[in-house]
């Protein structure tokens, strides 16, 4: 069943041109040039119930704007979005009770109060019964291991602890849809992993539909089978993460190590495109169809091969290449 459907969705922001300098600012008091920027350009996609989809894209690509439109914060300039059968920008309470948005860069808890106060407020706002509140809270607090910090003022928490509390606040009403906008931003590797593990487990257990934006490829690799890549407001890829590699990297990498005196570069150039070279270790890009044949040829040659490995291209590398284009 399709939970999210987006058709020709666009968003145009208007702003005023600001020339540098004081004199330009004075002139701007009388005359300003209005400019427009198309943050999202007629995108189309749909998401099935329970899917965990990664939104990838460089800064300013349109990821957050898309999430803002799906959560009803922004009116689209054109096109339409339907989530759980609702039109988000109508901001119907029945819809708002069924989704949550967590923004890694924005605090949604009451900064000067313990997180527990925000949880209690959310309980009332989302009209969660006492029984469900207790059950959900215990479950989430246990999963995220934050029992000891519930009564500490939010501003005194570490970024990782705060993000865990943000997740609890967002999930207390058991939303069917969860929008996660860079939930691991700024966290250390351990905290990132904790949050990732939690999202994975929560998605598997609750079958919540999740859209995740992140700059960290580890988040995407570990959590998402499907990715949507946005660049300059346009979707340039929508499909399985594995297929992305096949589409944008039609080659594999042969990592070979040599012993004895090693090899000269000219001796290995004929096998493919050299990615890395030193006398004892070489990485060669080889077409997927030919990789086995080439590996066999290298092993049968008189080169002093110590070890040979056929590796998939690193996803980070693929994404970097896509954005460079």
């Amino acid at each position: 069943m399709k939970t999210i459907e987006v058709k020709n969705l666009s968003k145009v922001y208007e702003y005023y041109k600001k020339q540098p300098g004081l004199w330009a600012s004075v002139k701007g008091l009388f005359k300003r040039e209005k400019l427009f920027t198309e943050a999202v350009k007629g995108i189309n996609f749909s998401i099935e119930e329970g899917e965990l989809v990664g939104f990838l894209g460089p800064n300013g690509a349109g990821k957050t704007t898309t999430l803002k439109m799906l959560s009803g914060i922004l009116y689209p300039s054109s096109g339409e979005a339907t989530v759980l059968g609702f039109t988000p920008h109508k901001r119907q309470k029945e819809y708002q009770k069924q989704f949550a948005l967590v923004m890694g860069q924005k605090n949604q808890l009451w900064w000067d109060l313990p997180a527990m106060e925000s949880f209690i407020l959310n309980k009332e706002i989302y009209e969660v019964s006492d029984e469900d509140f207790k059950k959900n809270l215990d479950e989430l607090v246990g999963l995220l291991d934050i029992k000891d910090i519930l009564d500490v003022q939010v501003r005194k928490l570490s970024l990782g602890q705060r993000m865990k509390c943000e997740l609890v606040a967002a999930l207390l009403h058991k939303p069917k849809i969860l929008f996660l906008d860079e939930p691991t931003i700024g966290l250390d590797v351990v905290a990132q992993k904790n949050i990732r593990d939690f999202i994975k487990k929560y998605n598997q257990e609750q079958k919540t539909t999740i859209i995740l934006t992140s700059h960290y490829m580890d988040d995407i690799k570990e959590l998402c089978k499907r990715v949507v890549i946005i660049d300059h407001g346009t979707i340039i890829y929508d499909g399985a993460l594995d297929d992305l590699i096949k589409k944008y990297a039609p080659y594999k990498v042969l990592n070979i190590t040599f012993n004895d005196k090693g090899v000269e570069k000219t001796q290995v150039e004929k096998y493919g495109i050299i990615q890395k070279y030193n006398q004892y270790a070489v990485s060669i890009e080889v077409n997927r169809e030919e990789v086995k044949k080439v590996a066999t040829a290298i092993l049968s040659s008189d080169l002093p091969v110590d070890d040979i490995m056929i590796d998939e291209v690193d996803i980070d590398e693929v994404i970097r290449k896509i954005f460079k284009k």
């Binding site: 922001y13 803002k68 922004l74 009116y75 924005k106 925000s118 209690i120 706002i125």
Partner: protein, 264 residues
Amino acid sequence: MKKYWTVTKNSWQLQLQYRLNLVLWRLRSITILLVFYFLWLNLIKENSVFAGFSQSQIFTYFLLINLLRPIVFDGQQRRMAQEINDGSFSRYLIMPINHFLYEFSRQLSNKVINLFFAIVEVVIFILVLKPPLTIPSDPQIWLFFFLSLFLATILYYFLSYLFNLTAFWSREAMGPRFLFDWILEFSAGAYFPLSILMRSFFVFLSFLPFFYLIYFPITIYLSKTELIGIQQGIIMQLVFTIIIGFFVRWAYKKSLKKYTGEGI
């Protein structure tokens, strides 16, 4: 309504966290009260009348300003405009709440705390300085006074909310808001009785909604307005509230279409 009550309770906790802020805010009120007391003590002698006010009426006027300010006005009136400008307003747009009530619930906590301290200050002031005061004996006056005070509170909230909506249209809502607050308090009679002003200017002010925020309820209390004047004034309060309420609704819908949620 329980959700809005929880907002008020959380806001109370928040204010009690900032004790210094609260103390300084009250210190400001006490200073204004004392300055006005000694100023008017010299300006208006016993048994004399100034701009239609006797000494006891003028002292009562200033004590009532101290009590009515926290009820009608809001000490954190610029917070909403700030939230719109920095994008944190987005959080209210995704929650199943009515922001108009949510914001009022936050202001309610502010009003109750400040009113509590204002009452304590006024009681101490009366006990220590023993100024001559006017206390109405007619229950009808008390009834009209509280009714006009209630309407003034609602009217101010509508006006304040409407003005905060300008933040959706301009990144520079703080400057105009500061000016608006100053004009509003001046025109409301929150600095001195408006009858001091030139007659034509006074009449002009009586056609503005601000006139009905502080000056009008106090003149009811001081029995300086005839019954017909009270009825007309209350009708004016109702009419302004309905008109401004309509504009708030219209402007809010328009503004949300303009909102970009910058900063997130």
